[in-house]
Symmetry: C2
Subunit: 631 residues, 2 copies
Amino acid sequence: MTEGRSVPVLPSYGPVRPLGLGQVSITGGFWGGRQAVNATATLSHCETWMERLGWLANFDRVADGTTAPDRPGWPFSDSEVYKLLEALAWETGRTGDVEAESAIKRLTARVARAQDPDGYLNTCFGHGDQPPRYSDLEGGHELYNLGHLLQAAVARLRTAGEDDLVRIARRAADHVCRTFGEDGMRKICGHPEIEVGLAEFGRALGEDRYVEQARLFLDRRGRGTLRDIPLGRAYFQDDIPIRQAGVWRGHAVRALYLTAAAVDVAVERGDDELLGAVERQWERSVARRTYITGGMGSRHQDEGFGEDWELPPDRAYCETCAGVASIMVSWRLHLATGDVRYTDLIERTLYNIIATSPSPDGAAFFYANPLHQRAPGKPSDGTEVSPRAEAGVRAAWFDVSCCPTNVARTLASLEGYLATTDDDGLQIHQYAPCAIRTELPDGRRVAVDVETDYPETGTIRVRIAADEPSPWTLSLRVPAWAAGASVIEDGGRARPVGPGVLTLRRAFRAGEVITLELPMRPRFTWPDPRIDAVRGCVAVERGPEVLCVESRDLDGLDALVIDPLLGPQPDPGGARVRGRLAAPAGGPWPYASGAHPVADGEWFDVTLRPYHSWAQRGSSSMRVWLPFSVR
Amino acid sequence: MTEGRSVPVLPSYGPVRPLGLGQVSITGGFWGGRQAVNATATLSHCETWMERLGWLANFDRVADGTTAPDRPGWPFSDSEVYKLLEALAWETGRTGDVEAESAIKRLTARVARAQDPDGYLNTCFGHGDQPPRYSDLEGGHELYNLGHLLQAAVARLRTAGEDDLVRIARRAADHVCRTFGEDGMRKICGHPEIEVGLAEFGRALGEDRYVEQARLFLDRRGRGTLRDIPLGRAYFQDDIPIRQAGVWRGHAVRALYLTAAAVDVAVERGDDELLGAVERQWERSVARRTYITGGMGSRHQDEGFGEDWELPPDRAYCETCAGVASIMVSWRLHLATGDVRYTDLIERTLYNIIATSPSPDGAAFFYANPLHQRAPGKPSDGTEVSPRAEAGVRAAWFDVSCCPTNVARTLASLEGYLATTDDDGLQIHQYAPCAIRTELPDGRRVAVDVETDYPETGTIRVRIAADEPSPWTLSLRVPAWAAGASVIEDGGRARPVGPGVLTLRRAFRAGEVITLELPMRPRFTWPDPRIDAVRGCVAVERGPEVLCVESRDLDGLDALVIDPLLGPQPDPGGARVRGRLAAPAGGPWPYASGAHPVADGEWFDVTLRPYHSWAQRGSSSMRVWLPFSVR
């Protein structure tokens, strides 16, 4: 057991243990700036919208016995309050923010009043004229909501100790165990989330029966206890037991929340069969069902995974929440195995999904993250609720508004995903300017400062901040994309390091600097030929960032073809490639017995910018995958 | 006015007038066989399923006052009964089928009992505990259902004269005019169809006020009177008035039923502005939003059109009903203009959508018609209702079962789409073995027999069946794909004819044969480069048929690349191309900094078969668009 670490995920066993908010402080840079915006703008933005729309008042109505058929919001709107509470809890743990603390108390008080004496807590079922409790397990989201309550309580417990929110969560968790235990309803919730909430809440409190309830839910799933629906039972992963499944399918967020819980249960129970099944699912899903951005979910219809190789850029769903959930899964798998392929994917997802969603002012968000926007979105003035997930512009709030609070809780707890320790040293996974202060189990002192403007440049300086007479091991992840990386140790000469992990073991002395140099020259990236939707195209990446071309930078983007023989060049925007406009003449029928006549334009330079910044200068059409021509 | 023609569409004005069931008899061949299966299997299949599922009993329940909340079927299930009635009516008109006649009487009697005294007729709203009439115009489909009732009544009126079904329809139409007229509710139905029903029923009865009500509905639409929904108001074409729209968008069947009505209204009112708007929408939609199969609808989420050039083969929706509706639109546009580009598209849609849907035994149907099936569908034993539109196998019946009855009514009325006359002669549009007997307005006798096994071969013999001393003009459509066609007139030598229309004018004598020879050698067809989803691919067509490769004929279809330099060869199956398997090695991440290593196999012959026959030999994966490699 690792006590006292303020982290979202703290397994009881594993080769590495995550450092938390007390041990890692992000001091600025790419992520520090985003965390500041999250703290100062997004958190209050979320509370304001939920107050405006009555999602908060739903709790008051239950408490006051004034529920009515006009209840605003979807059945899962409660969960947004809990995700905001979780974000607020991490924020207070990170910075001691007084406003966040006061918001927690304010929200907790309203939630508390709505809880039934037996622990049941929901604003849409079970009161007055509402449908009875658990009368719609397919779509009701009651257990889903409670799962988010438990995650919020974990955050509170690990940053402030047991308080009202934790007590509410305890009563709710006990209610769930009584109602759905071995002797209770042998049912599951249509949207997994209770499982991951119970598992972590159990770990945080040392209450194994919560972990056991999570295991029960997991093993019940995949046996068709939920009703078949037009989208099929794969939609909520009730088609195949998780131990037998070979790949992720159905609704991406559901699949990933479920998988995160499976890792937790596997680790707590020493269940290598289950862990192995999840690893295999990750492998195939990442190899065949994942976008270059790390985005997951190829279909709008069910917000879900498609078949292997079905990865359309234009209709990519890549829900922001699926990015959050993918990080949840990969981080748990890393903690269970120590394998950096998982933290590689986390980096990709952080820079290209999590960073993409919020606007620079933290008051608007992408829900879907397509890799090709055909028609520019309709600008919004930020005062309306977007009725739909895809819009081509960031929206202030959504009818289904899961993403803003999910981004908020991820950014507020980001310190918990940067570094780990094992018995012999420190492992740094994500590069941000930060201070890391911890001790190894035997008391060796580990103190380093990371200085970097990554991913602006690839220079990462790790400065030892305290002497430690006994040797220890410093491990630095070298991303899989970073062929040609090098390291310079104090006063030494650069020596090449391959992708994977760079380990240095010695008695480090304060002031020593280890400089990892990651190659930031933009590069072409080629898709597997089985990804039919991007055949004949190439993407440009730079460091961990996927780049894109926007119509803001290029009129006639539709007709762009690029020269794949001349590699992309560095550019202040991100990169430059050589391209020309090759607009087909067009005709009454788009299928012809010979090559379509194309009027090739002159070659010119095309600017690419980071995908995460797209549509920040106004609505735009956009492409990540660029057709090439070698004619 | 053209009296007494048994056709689904009979405009009051126009350059050509359609021949009907009395003037054209299909005598066998590709379509004759399908009509026979439709008559002997599909019609009773549809009635059996609707009885089994209680969709017919819904009418009895209304009549008996026993409606209840457990009403089976969707709110639009009534329309399936009406579409079946329409199919039965055409079938009796075509063949005098006694069983069909008896089914009409049986079904009409049950429908009649459910009609309210004021003409309202619906089994889901307005009775007992049901929601009030017209309380859910977005989703309730009440007017949609009645539109199909009117189309059924048109079929009955034009094949048997006024009977109970026609009288029911009259009362319903009068109710609609009273309720939604200038002085009534200024509302529209979420699913267009009442408009096209009213317009034709008005034409059939000479009741202009029905046409006027159709015009009212049309001009009310596009002004946001329907509620906004997550899919947007474009879903039901309530986003832009039809006169101002530039392209089809939203739900494809809705867009097309609406457009069909717009042509009817434009023609009846001499409204060239409206006709011009529809023609422009057709042009852009066909040039940029239509599949090579003629299929329409790129998105599953809203069963709708995508953006320009958004034509994914794997997620092509191409609903069978959208094919039916596309034919409805193009036929009306042809009758309004005489332009054969419309009948060209009809041919494509007939052979590649309408012919694709039903199984050879007429008891199972495709709903969606993708151009790439990645994973073979799960075989069905024909006893279950398919809960979803896409399955990769034909299903006996669907939860939403609009397609079987739509195919049935189209096949039963196919004679009405084959040929037209104008003041000087006959125009033949679709080639099937048939007898055509008619008179021109001035009494000249036109009698021809078409002998052909098209599209098995491209030889179409038009044999003059009666002397006519005065010259008249025989016009034969030469399809746009038929470069290299030729004609032989009695005893003469072949002479080339270009795509478009071949016209021959003289005093034809009985026994004369005009032989049109269409080139049936399989050919490569190349997509416009802006169709991103099929870049680097080529399709194979043969005559009017699109061909495809199935995994039944080729293990490892996923890895197929073909040689685009050697043209496709004739083959008893359909065509042969040279291909090889080029399976990428694959790896943990499908994006790489260089070309993916590919193990090229040996070249071999790949058999292609007509797309309409796919999955007839069992479930299969399938591709229309084939990647090519010139390495």
